[in-house]
């Protein structure tokens, strides 16, 4: 009971002796494993970075070779003849026509695909009984498992011959706009390619939208019901605003997929020279389809030119993705 007995601090200090040799051995082993694992993880990350930098450097060098050999403006020319087959050996190529084709087919794809995908997602999460929703979700996911080349075959053999009716209808209604005029022929048009793309990006958008809508806070839905809202009003008031930014980024993800879709578009579209402004008339080309069709027989300059066009596509996708992030940030992270 005397107060000058050594206090707890001293005994604690005495307890903090340096570890015993056995304990030190265990620490040392853990240290080695720690170092090995940390080192290899770091090495893997560095390796990936170096690999990506090497690929990017290779692509840029090849593209620069091609662009410097190009005798016309790379960004504004409509022809694609880097090996000079029709220009007496003079490389003449530009991405204006194919970049435009890429954009317009993807926009059509999203215009048709996004509403349907959002509708499917809303039906699965809000309207359907749970079991039916699960089965429907599974079927929609199966759509994503179908290979692109199968979509291309289906588009070419089934859709193209039957697009005449719808194309004619659209031309009758909207034909006063130059874009929707045709010379009487329909089929392998940018519009058909856009429809095929819509079906291909549908599962991506639907899957993400489904997950987002499922996470709508129950309290908000129940509050809306409590205020006397109908099912549609609940969706309009609670579900859609909650999921807006997330679904926007899902749509833009689908847009990015549509930008890069290669084989399906290459099979559905036939090629015509120059810029294609009539979307119901057969003919058109996209960057990815151009690469798929031309790569086999391209000579050196041709190959480098295709790589350059691939870089442009990569840049387009980067810009689209960056815009998506901006949109998500601006509209606030109200959603997922």
């Amino acid at each position: 009971m005397s107060t000058d007995r050594p206090g707890p601090a001293v005994t604690e200090a005495q307890d903090e002796k340096p570890p015993t040799p056995a304990r030190a051995g265990l620490n040392a082993k853990a240290g080695l494993g720690d170092r090995l694992f940390g080192g290899s993880a770091r090495g893997a990350a560095v390796f990936i970075l170096i690999l990506m930098a090497a690929i990017a450097a290779f692509l840029i060098v090849q593209s620069v070779h091609a662009i410097s050999a190009d005798k016309v403006n790379f960004l504004t020319s409509f022809t694609w003849d880097p090996d000079g087959n029709t220009t007496n050996g003079v490389p003449t190529f530009g991405i204006a026509a194919i970049a435009w084709g890429t954009l317009i087919t993807s926009v059509i794809g999203v215009l048709f695909g996004a509403p349907v995908a959002i509708g499917v997602a809303l039906f699965i999460t809000q309207y359907a009984p749970r079991k039916l929703g699960a089965i429907l979700g599974y079927i929609v996911d199966l759509l994503a498992a179908v290979p692109s080349v199968v979509y291309g075959l289906w588009g070419l053999l089934v859709l193209v011959p039957h697009m005449g009716g719808i194309s004619k209808l659209i031309e009758d209604v909207l034909g006063w706009i130059p874009m929707f005029k045709t010379n009487g022929t329909y089929g392998s048009s940018i519009f058909t390619a856009g429809v095929v793309l819509a079906i291909m990006i549908l599962p991506i958008i639907a899957a993400i939208a489904r997950e987002i809508y499922r996470q709508t806070p129950r309290e908000q839905i129940e509050a809306a019901y409590a205020l006397g809202a109908t099912r549609w009003e609940v969706i309009r008031l609670a579900v859609l605003p909650y999921g807006r930014s997330g679904v926007t980024s899902a749509v833009i993800l689908g847009f990015g997929r549509a930008l890069g879709e290669t084989i399906a578009v290459a099979m559905v579209l036939t090629q015509v020279p120059g810029l294609v402004t009539r979307i119901l008339q057969p003919g058109g080309n996209t960057i990815a389809a151009n690469i798929a069709v031309q790569f086999g027989e391209a000579l050196t300059t041709g190959r480098q030119a295709l790589i350059a066009s691939g870089l442009i596509l990569f840049l387009m996708t980067l810009i689209v993705n960056y815009a998506a992030r901006l949109v998500v940030r601006r509209t606030g992270r109200a959603g997922a």
């Binding site: 029709t86 193209v160 022929t185 392998s188 036939t270 015509v272 020279p273 057969p282 027989e297």
Partner: protein, 368 residues
């Protein structure tokens, strides 16, 4: 735990044995001429191994038939043909992915330079051996019309877009008895570099005032499709379409094809005899193992069908891989033989004139 430790050791042992088994000899590489112990009773000179070929779609049907027969005759041989188009085939050949390539036009100066710079044939060069002559059918799909006469000038107009409807005056003048509908013409051409394009544009240039012959179709109108097969199927499925494809694609898809005019002004229907008559008059230029045929579009007989092509096999004159050389010579000799050439007729091609067959035999024998 002990189990974990034994499991780890066992795992390492399994992984190691799998890795080491991969170091075993790989028997997939093409082997040289081995004395076939499997006792093929066929000709004594049957090599064995794998032959990789690539090139023209025009000769694809011929090669697939010959492949079957040759593989039955020489059971140790496997022949693979990748019909990716004349241009792509030559590129595959230059990159050593094909032992020889099929091309509907002889090696251009650019391609020959690439062969040299890539050292594909060692210090030597590649040669052309014409082996598969064929006819180009002008296929069309017009409802209720099964035969058409089309002159070279009319065809040039159609493929340039100046004649855009089937009931145009020019077509009506050449076909007074046909019931031509008021239907837009949709021309289809080959979007890839193609010898069929080269030969057809050559014919139109010589007799129809069309742009100069080019393996990248130089026409100003219509839609491009990749490969003869796709052109034929697009023509078949589109009313009002017209296109050009090798004759065997026309017969396979049951398409109607036109009679075209030659230098004599007569409309010559497409038959194998008519095509053979025209090909027999081609000028032959031979230097060493290299043989080139130049069609004579001024030949003015009433029974010579002028829209023809011949597929060359592009092979190294010297500097062939010594393991593959017996396979290459074996298959080429078979392709040049009378037995194989006679089979061509039933496939829709035109057999080689015997004089050219003899030239080829010498050329093939002297390959190294």
């Amino acid at each position: 735990m002990k189990f974990q430790r034994y499991g780890a050791v066992a795992g390492v042992a399994v992984a190691a044995s799998l890795a080491l088994s991969a170091c075993g000899s790989n028997n997939n590489a093409p082997t040289g001429p081995t004395s076939s112990a499997s006792g093929t009773s066929a000709a004594s000179s049957c090599p064995s191994g794998t032959l990789s070929l690539a090139g023209s779609t025009a000769q694809a049907n011929a090669i697939s038939q010959w492949k079957k027969d040759y593989q039955t005759k020489c059971t140790g041989v496997t022949v693979n043909y990748n019909a990716n188009g004349s241009g792509a085939g030559v590129t595959s050949f230059i990159q050593k992915q094909a032992d020889f390539a099929g091309s509907d036009y002889s090696l251009s100066t650019t391609q020959a330079a690439q062969v040299t710079s890539a050292g594909r044939c060692g210090s030597g060069s590649a040669v052309n051996i014409p082996l598969v002559p064929g006819a180009i059918a002008v296929v069309f799909n017009v409802p209720n019309v099964t035969t058409l006469n089309l002159s070279a000038t009319t065809l040039a107009g159609i493929f340039n877009g100046t004649i855009s409807n089937w009931d145009a005056a020019a077509i009506k003048a050449e076909n007074p008895s046909a019931n031509l509908p008021n239907l837009a013409i949709q021309p289809f051409y080959r979007s890839d570099t193609s010898g069929t394009s080269y030969n057809f544009s050559n014919y139109l240039h010589a007799l129809g005032g069309f742009a100069a012959a080019n393996k990248q179709w130089p026409g100003k109108a219509g839609q491009g499709a990749k490969g003869s097969s796709l052109v034929a199927s697009k023509v078949k499925s589109t009313a009002g379409a017209i296109g050009y494809a090798e004759y065997s694609y026309a017969t396979e898809d049951s398409l109607s094809y036109a009679a075209v005019s030659n230098a004599s002004g007569a409309y010559v229907p497409l038959t194998q005899t008519n095509a053979a008559n025209f090909i027999a008059k081609a000028k032959v230029t031979q230097s060493g193992s290299d043989t080139k045929l130049a069609f004579d579009y001024t030949y003015a007989a009433a029974d010579a069908y002028p829209a023809t092509l011949v597929t060359y096999e592009i092979v190294c004159g010297t500097g062939n891989d010594s393991g593959q050389l017996p396979l290459i010579k074996g298959f080429l000799t078979y392709m040049d033989s009378s037995a194989a050439q006679t089979e061509l007729t039933s496939e829709g091609y035109v057999p080689l004139p015997s004089a050219i067959q003899a030239d080829n035999a010498t050329a093939i024998a002297s390959l190294q």
